[in-house]
Structures are given as structure tokens and as C-alpha cells.
């Protein structure tokens, strides 16, 4: 009896196992190993004793068979106590099983889960047995081809989901109960079959089997089946225990479905995201490569001899002592970028000026002095400006006859300073990041500096961005940037007293050169100043960049200098207006090399703050200057060496909030006179009076005429 039932059960077990196997794996995989065993007593209680016995036996026979077939041993393999006695009966059941294959399958495709005998036993055994049985089943499948396709991927499906599930006891119990029901039914079926030789199972059980088969049917679209989906949803609900689960059940169901299709964690990163990183790395790699490899020796010597490149790392080291800086990594890259700049352009000297922060990108600024006669000239701009001026004057003259001439004369554009002079002493290059190409900033115009003083705008990081402001800034961001750089340099570049000295031209001291001296040179006899002195007194530091006058230039330009044509006009106008003075007062600023102690205070605070870099080790400390007027400007000196640096947003500090300037009053354009001035319309009385007067004069004229005619007639 056992033999006959066992192959059937076996087959059914296998059939079911194939589907059920992963579930068992799941229960097996759960850390709750005792659970299956704890459920065992339940099972044992609920199920008649006859049940477990036959259930236990069959799976083990295929297992042992499978082990012989596949030689696949996983994990612990405690040979089940039941197996040895079964081995003898193993082979014949197999053949019988083949014959019996068709029947149980026809009744219900893959379903009718017969409880695994594995549950009462240890989990790992289950697992191994299940796996083997499923593989065994698969090998049989190839033989028979009666098993429908979708079954195959299922084990994998289940296998994947196994670790993600946290089995709850109740669920297990439920499944166990379900299985028990099945087992009951099946056992009854099988037991009754040979015993009572009744082939028709009860209607209820058939219905259950059919229902389950239907639930397990896979969707043609998504490859899921309802049974699994429902069990997943229930698992999720039981894990998460949301409030009002019944209300959000649809959402949960949706989430589960979505989760099924979500990508697993990518071990490969998104290519798009990495591209910019690689781009930058490539650009910076170019920095690290040396330019020409041929003649390297010669070039090395040249480079060492020239010394046009500053020792940025050394300066960075000192600044780091002061707590200012960009980090070693970034500074080194900037260093290499500077070297590249020096290699590609004919540069006499260059310096890392600083970094200006922007909203989208930042600017790294290099201050450069070209070799003599090497800089590019920008004559075009000036010519264009002059032409425009001329054009305007001509237009005025044409209109003079027709329209009243307007008073307004555009103030003559103050020409920019020559290269190498004043605010344009140095040329500035900027780049957004080390490795990107350097862009040369245009020279600065006085008008731009004047305007830059009136507005306060953040930099965006794009050189061509327009500056929308009031008063309107003449230029775009590159001009604004250049103007701010000029202001910052003029305001904050300082050096220890005596480092620079004026050229040896004593004759000039007597002559009052307009605008003061503007050239200096290094003092070869500079002996250094004690660091403590540098810290204690601000008079030991001097500005070595010319102050920018309110006009926007360093050297005063008298706009009243006239061409001969204009002189005459202006004389006339002066007589008329009597407003403009004969000469505009010369703007004077502090001369070069003024000590910074003369700088104006800001609301009771000195313009500079000094500090020793370290109070703990004063003998190696350096003096650090921090500007309060331009936050972000620093200078250090260790007595002999010094350096200036700027890092910040590029704005001046002001105690009061920024208020944009008020628009100027409406300009009185035309001279008021009877031709233009509006008059009130005459009132009615005035009109009458006027008309009466007119009539009177007309009649008087007529009388005169009549008398004349009379006289004429008389004469004739």
C-alpha cells in the first residue's frame, strides 16, 4: 500500500515541490528555524498520524535518488532516518511514478500542494531536498514535456524573493494549514484511492484545487501570478502593519507590483553622471603631462632660470598657517594651470591673485604681467568710441537749425588708462576650474569702475552674463569682474614697508607730477621687518597699488581739456550758464606706498585686522593681515616674504544696507522761452479783450487805409 501510494504522492510531491519548493526554502531560509519544528507539533496535532508518515517517506526517496543522480550536496546533510529503509523501494516507485505522471497533473496543473514532508524536519534539509527535487523535477520535465513552460522560471522567481521575505509565524501556520488541508485532502484522496478505489474527489476539494490553479496561472503580460502577488501583499502588510490597511490596500498592491520591477542596486554607476567627472579628470590630466618631451633638459634649465612662475605652494603653505586657503589638492592644480598659462603666453610675471566665488561657478584669477611689447593692443574699442562721439556732435549740429538745441551734452567719456598704467597695470586671466582654458579679461574703463561702485551684484560664473542693474552697468560680467578685481587690488594689495621703493629719480620729488608717482621697484636692500612689528603696527604695511580716484582712473584725467573746436562752443555756453567752472578740481588720492594705517576706519573698526598665525609657536609665526573693508582679502608676511590673496564673493563691506541710487531728476533739456514754454490757454475774458483789441486795431488800419485811399483818390 505504501508503495503504491508513495509513487503517486511522490509525483505529486514533486509536482508540488517544484512550485512549493521555494516556499519551503523561504521558510527554511528564515532564521526561525525552530518554527517549522514548532509548527510541526501543530501539524502533528491537527493532522492524523497517518498523514505525516507517508508524507515523510516519499520525499526522501527521491532525495536519495537525486543525490545519487546529481551528486549535489548542499549544507548539512543529516541523512534522514527514513531514507535508508526507502531506498530499496525507490526504483520501482519511479517507474510507477512515470506512468502515474499524467493523472494527477491533469486534475490540476501544477497545484494541489501536498505538504512537504520537509516541514517537520530541519530547514536546511528541506532546502536541499527541495532543491534537488525541483532539479529532479526539471530533469523529468525535459523528458515529458507535459509540464507547461511558465513553471520553469518560477523557481528562480521564488528564489529571488526568498531573502526579502520575513516569514511570520502566522503565515507559515496558514500555509501549513493550507497544506494540511491539501494534505488531508490528498491523503484522503490517495489513501482513499487505493483503499476505497474511489477516483472522484469531493466537489469542494476539486473546487479548491481549481481555484488555486487559477490563482497560480501566470499573467501573459507581466509574468506574475495572482497567487504570488496576493501572498506578497499580505506579507508586506503584515510586516509593515500600516493603519487602516483596508483603505490603502490598492496602493500597497501597486507598490508591490512596482517593487517587483524595480531595478536591483546597480553595481555599475550611471554613465551620464560620471561623464563630467571624467571630463574634468581628462582636462586636469593634461596639466600633469609635461609639454614637450624633446629638449626637455634645455627647457628645464630655462624654466628654472626664468622664474616667471611664482611659488604658489609656498604661499599656500603660509596662508594655511593663517587659516586661509583652498586646500592642498586644489591649490596644486591651480599651480599647474598657472604653469600652463605661463607656457602658452609670453609672460614676464604671473601671480595667483585669488578666487572669486560665484553662484553657478567660481573664478580663479591670475594676475599677469606681459613681457615688454608683447601684449595685444585693443585699439579698436577706442576708435569706435571716438567715432560715436563725433557722430553725435554732427547730429546735433544738423538739428540745430530746426530744433532748439538741447543743453544736454553727454559728458565726455573718460578714456581708459593705457596698458601697464594705473588700473590696467596688470592683465588678468580667469578660468572656472583648473584645467579649463584661461580667458583674458578686457582692460577696465573708468566708467566701469565708477558704475561698479554703485552696484552690488553676485557673480554667476559665466563671463558673458549680462549685468542687469540700476544704474545700468556698461558691460557684461567680464567687465564687472575686471572692475571689481581692479578695486580689490587697489584697496588691499599691501606689502611690508620698505619692500618696495620708488625709483631713483630724485628730481621728480620736487616736481608735482599730477597723480603722484606710479612706479616702484623692489628694494634690494630690504632687510625685513620683525613679525611682531608687522602685527603690532599697521604703519609697517604700505599699499603698493595705486588708489583709484573717484573718476575711475588712477592718474587724473582732466576732462575739460578741449579740442579747439569745442573750446569756442564751451566758452559761449559758459557765458550763458556760468555754471561750469573753468576747470574741474583735480581729484587727488593717497599717493603710492602710503601706510595702511592711514586707511579710513569703518564704524570704529580699523580697516585691517592683524594677527599672529600662532600664539603657541611665536618664533616661526607669520603676520597675517585681514581686510575688513574687503572681506576675503588677506596678506601675510614672515618678515622677508609677503603675499596677497583674495578669496570671497568680490564685494565691499558696508555697514549700511545697499540702496540703489535714486534716478536723477528730470533734466531741463531745452531753454525755456516763448517758443517752447507752455502757456495757459487764455480765459474767456482775455479772449474777448484780445478780440476787441484786434478789431479795434483792424478798424483803425482800415480807417487808415481808407484815408489813404481817399488821399490817393483825392490826388488822382
Amino acid at each position: 500500500m505504501e508503495d503504491s501510494t508513495s509513487p503517486k504522492q511522490e509525483k505529486e510531491n514533486q509536482g508540488l515541490r517544484e512550485v512549493e519548493g521555494p516556499w519551503e526554502e523561504k521558510t527554511a531560509a528564515s532564521p526561525q528555524d525552530p518554527d517549522p519544528q514548532s509548527s510541526e507539533p501543530l501539524e502533528a496535532e491537527q493532522v492524523p498520524e497517518t498523514g505525516p508518515q507517508p508524507r515523510n517517506s516519499p520525499p526522501w526517496s527521491p532525495q536519495s535518488r537525486a543525490s545519487t543522480f546529481l551528486g549535489d550536496v548542499t549544507g548539512q546533510e543529516a541523512s534522514p532516518p527514513n531514507s535508508p529503509p526507502q531506498q530499496t523501494s525507490s526504483t520501482p516507485p519511479l517507474t510507477l511514478a512515470e506512468q502515474d505522471l499524467g493523472a494527477p497533473l491533469q486534475s490540476g496543473r501544477t497545484t494541489t500542494r501536498i505538504p512537504d514532508a520537509g516541514t517537520p524536519l530541519s530547514g536546511s534539509l528541506e532546502q536541499s531536498s527541495d532543491k534537488r527535487e525541483s532539479t529532479f523535477h526539471l530533469t523529468r520535465q525535459s523528458e515529458e514535456n507535459t509540464f507547461p513552460e511558465p513553471q520553469q522560471p518560477k523557481p528562480d522567481l521564488y528564489g529571488l524573493r526568498d531573502p526579502s521575505y520575513d516569514t511570520s509565524k502566522q503565515k507559515e501556520l496558514r500555509f501549513d494549514i493550507f497544506q494540511e488541508e491539501d494534505s488531508n485532502s490528498n491523503c484522503d484522496l490517495l489513501q482513499s484511492e487505493p483503499g476505497a478505489s474511489e477516483v472522484t474527489p469531493s466537489m469542494l476539494e476539486v473546487a479548491i484545487h481549481n481555484a488555486k490553479a487559477y490563482l497560480l496561472r501566470t499573467s501573459s503580460k507581466s509574468g506574475l501570478n495572482l497567487y504570488d502577488h496576493l501572498s506578497n501583499v499580505l506579507t508586506k502588510i503584515l510586516d509593515e502593519r500600516p493603519d487602516n490597511a483596508v483603505d490603502i490596500i490598492e496602493n500597497i498592491s501597486q507598490d508591490v507590483k512596482m517593487a517587483h520591477f524595480s531595478k536591483k542596486l546597480d553595481t555599475l554607476q550611471n554613465e551620464n553622471e560620471l561623464l563630467p567627472m571624467y571630463e574634468i579628470a581628462e582636462m586636469q590630466k593634461a596639466l600633469f603631462l609635461q609639454g614637450n618631451l624633446e629638449g626637455a633638459d634645455q627647457e628645464l634649465e630655462e624654466e628654472i632660470a626664468e622664474g616667471s612662475l611664482p611659488n604658489v605652494m609656498e604661499a599656500a603653505f603660509y596662508f594655511e598657517q593663517a587659516g586661509v586657503g583652498l586646500g592642498t589638492d586644489e591649490t596644486y592644480r591651480i599651480f599647474l594651470a598657472l604653469k600652463q598659462l605661463a607656457d602658452t603666453h609670453p609672460i614676464q610675471r604671473c601671480r595667483f591673485w585669488g578666487k572669486i566665488l560665484g553662484i553657478e561657478r567660481n573664478y580663479i584669477v591670475a594676475e599677469v604681467e606681459f613681457r615688454e611689447g608683447e601684449d595685444e593692443e585693443e585699439v579698436e574699442e577706442e576708435d569706435v568710441a571716438e567715432e560715436r562721439d563725433n557722430g553725435a556732435i554732427e547730429a546735433d549740429e544738423d538739428e540745430e537749425d530746426e530744433f532748439p538745441k538741447a543743453f544736454y551734452k553727454a559728458p565726455r567719456a573718460i578714456p581708459k588708462e593705457e596698458s601697464r598704467m594705473g588700473a590696467n597695470k596688470y592683465v588678468y586671466f580667469v578660468c572656472n576650474e583648473p584645467g579649463r582654458p584661461w580667458v583674458k579679461l578686457p582692460s577696465v574703463m573708468p566708467a566701469q569702475i565708477v558704475m561698479a561702485r554703485k552696484i552690488k551684484k553676485f557673480f554667476t560664473g559665466r563671463l558673458d552674463a549680462p549685468i542687469i542693474s540700476y544704474p545700468p552697468f556698461p558691460g557684461n560680467e567680464s567687465n564687472y569682474l575686471r572692475a571689481q578685481i581692479a578695486r580689490i587690488s587697489a584697496g588691499t594689495h599691501v606689502s611690508p614697508l620698505g619692500f618696495y621703493q620708488f625709483g631713483e629719480e630724485e628730481g621728480e620729488e620736487e616736481e608735482e607730477v599730477e597723480g603722484g608717482r606710479d612706479s616702484f621697484e623692489e628694494n634690494p636692500d630690504f632687510e625685513g621687518i620683525q613679525v611682531m612689528d608687522l602685527v603690532e603696527s599697521l604703519s609697517n604695511w604700505v599699499h603698493h597699488v595705486q588708489h583709484i580716484l573717484p573718476q575711475g582712473r588712477c592718474n587724473w584725467f582732466n576732462p575739460v581739456q578741449k579740442n579747439e573746436e569745442e573750446e569756442e562752443e564751451e566758452d559761449e555756453e559758459k557765458e550763458e550758464k556760468g555754471e561750469d567752472p573753468d576747470y574741474i578740481e583735480q581729484e587727488v588720492g593717497p599717493p603710492l606706498l602710503t601706510p595702511i594705517s592711514e586707511d579710513l576706519e569703518i564704524q570704529n573698526m580699523p580697516a585691517w585686522t592683524t594677527r599672529l598665525s600662532s600664539n603657541l609657536i611665536p618664533q616661526y609665526a607669520i603676520a597675517v593681515l585681514r581686510s575688513n573693508l574687503w572681506p576675503g582679502a588677506y596678506a601675510f608676511s614672515n618678515g622677508k616674504k609677503f603675499e596677497n590673496f583674495y578669496i570671497g564673493w568680490g564685494h565691499k563691506y558696508s555697514v549700511d544696507n545697499y540702496t540703489p541710487p535714486v534716478p536723477p531728476p528730470v533734466y531741463q533739456e531745452y531753454p525755456s522761452g516763448p517758443e517752447i514754454t507752455e502757456m495757459d490757454d487764455p480765459s474767456v475774458e482775455e479772449e474777448h479783450a484780445f478780440r476787441a483789441a484786434q478789431e479795434a486795431s483792424v478798424s483803425a488800419a482800415e480807417e487808415n487805409e481808407e484815408t489813404e485811399e481817399d488821399e490817393d483818390e483825392d490826388d488822382d
Binding site: 567627472m277 586644489e330 552690488k456 551684484k457 555697514v655
Partner: protein
């Protein structure tokens, strides 16, 4: 940022240019450890700052200008105050003295409330209320890191209730319980978000409190913010954008 990761954090936030000298860094490290035990001032000596009160905030709002560096320095400013004396109500010019200490406290509090930020997902809130550090936070992805909406203010939510239902539906209540940076006024203006070192580091700088730098290395757990500045709010921000 944590005391342990101070060194790394400073290196990552160095793009703004303000950092600490090795001197201070070292002393700060050691003293931070000690602070956990007791309190002192000025990198070796810390003093316990009292928590900010509203009154303090109002008082210090009137004080402009830089900090002096001396906690006991007193600012004076004259204020018109209505003084009730008996039946009379008249305005009197009162010289109010505000100690720098209180000013410091209130500024720190304001900065924290206004611009302390953390990335989305770093903290999560259990339904029962308490907020926990999310130990499984692996960092923002690169595309998320570039969006302002992935960062939250590290404070009690002020704006959440004002959102429309549609917006609320997209929120995940365990993660999105703080205000996002998207809605900071002026919109699209008060933060500068940049990627440095290629895409290896995202740096947010506040334009409202210049000197506040927040950094985060995407796909890692590193993030933090540091304030190095003069302690003054940038009220000119609308003009500057």
C-alpha cells in the same frame, strides 16, 4: 559635523577659502573632545552659551556691524522706547546695551535656524515622533544632489502645512518632515549649488549668510556644514541677484 570628522570636513569645505590653520585645527580637535566633558572658550577655553531667547533676537537685530571678538564687549545703541510712567506715555531715548555674548548667541541661533541643512534621507522620523539618524543612508545620487529639493532645513518644519495636497501626496512622511530648500525666499536665489572636483563633491553656499558652506560627497555618507564668517546677514541679497 562631528568632532571625529572635523579634519575631513574642513578639507572638503575648503573650496570657500576660509578654513582653520593647523594650529587651530589641532587645538580645536583636542578641545572638542574635552568639551564633551566640560565647557570652555576660544579653541581651548569654551564657555557655555545660553540658549537664545526671542528677546535676545529682537535686541540684537538692532545691532549692526562686526563682532569685536570679546564676549563681554557691550554694544550701545539708542532706541526709542515707549515708557509708561504712571499715567504718562512718552517716548524716551534709551540707551540699550547689548552684550556681545548675547549677540553671538542669537546670531548662532539664527544661522542654525536659517541655513543649517542636511540631505534628504539622512534622518527619518518614526510614526511615533522621535527622529533618528538613518544608518542606511548611503548618500544622494548625483542627479539628486544637484537639486535643491534634496536638501532640508535642519529645524522644525515651518512650511509643510502650507503645501497643497498634491504636493503632500508625493512626500514620504518618514523622510520629508522638514522644509526643503526649494521654497527659500528669494526663490532660486539664496543658495549657490556647485559641483566640485568633477562630480565628486557638491557644495552649497548660502548667499543669505555668506560664509556658510555645506558639502556632501554624493553616494557616500559624508556631509556637513561649517560657518566661517563675520556673522552678518546679507540683507542686500535681493539687489545682488
Amino acid at each position: 559635523m562631528d568632532a571625529e570628522s572635523l579634519l575631513l570636513s574642513l578639507e572638503l569645505a575648503s573650496g570657500s577659502g576660509q578654513g582653520l590653520s593647523p594650529d587651530r585645527r589641532a587645538s580645536l580637535l583636542t578641545s572638542l573632545l574635552l568639551v564633551k566633558r566640560d565647557y570652555r572658550l576660544n579653541c581651548t577655553d569654551w564657555s557655555l552659551l545660553p540658549p537664545a531667547t526671542e528677546e535676545m533676537v529682537v535686541q540684537t537685530a538692532m545691532v549692526k556691524g562686526r563682532f569685536m571678538g570679546d564676549p563681554s564687549h557691550e554694544y550701545e545703541h539708542t532706541e526709542l522706547q515707549k515708557v509708561n510712567e504712571g499715567d504718562k506715555v512718552f517716548e524716551e531715548e534709551v540707551v540699550v546695551q547689548v552684550k556681545e555674548e548675547t549677540r553671538l548667541v542669537s546670531i548662532i541661533d539664527q544661522i542654525d535656524k536659517a541655513v543649517a541643512i542636511i540631505p534628504r534621507g539622512a534622518l527619518f522620523k518614526t510614526p511615533f515622533g522621535p527622529t533618528n539618524v538613518n544608518r542606511t543612508f548611503e548618500g544622494l545620487s548625483l542627479s539628486e544632489a544637484k537639486k535643491l529639493s534634496s536638501y532640508f532645513h535642519f529645524r522644525e518644519a515651518v512650511d509643510l502645512k502650507n503645501k497643497t495636497l498634491l504636493e503632500k501626496a508625493d512626500l514620504d512622511p518618514s523622510l520629508d518632515f522638514m522644509d526643503s530648500l526649494e521654497h527659500d525666499i528669494p526663490k532660486a536665489g539664496s543658495w549657490s549649488i556647485q559641483m566640485e572636483r568633477g562630480n565628486a563633491l557638491v557644495v552649497l553656499r548660502s548667499l543669505l549668510w555668506p560664509g556658510l558652506t555645506f558639502y556632501h560627497a554624493p553616494r557616500t555618507k559624508n556631509y556637513g556644514y561649517i560657518y566661517v564668517g563675520t556673522g552678518e546677514k546679507n540683507l542686500d541679497l535681493p539687489f545682488m541677484l
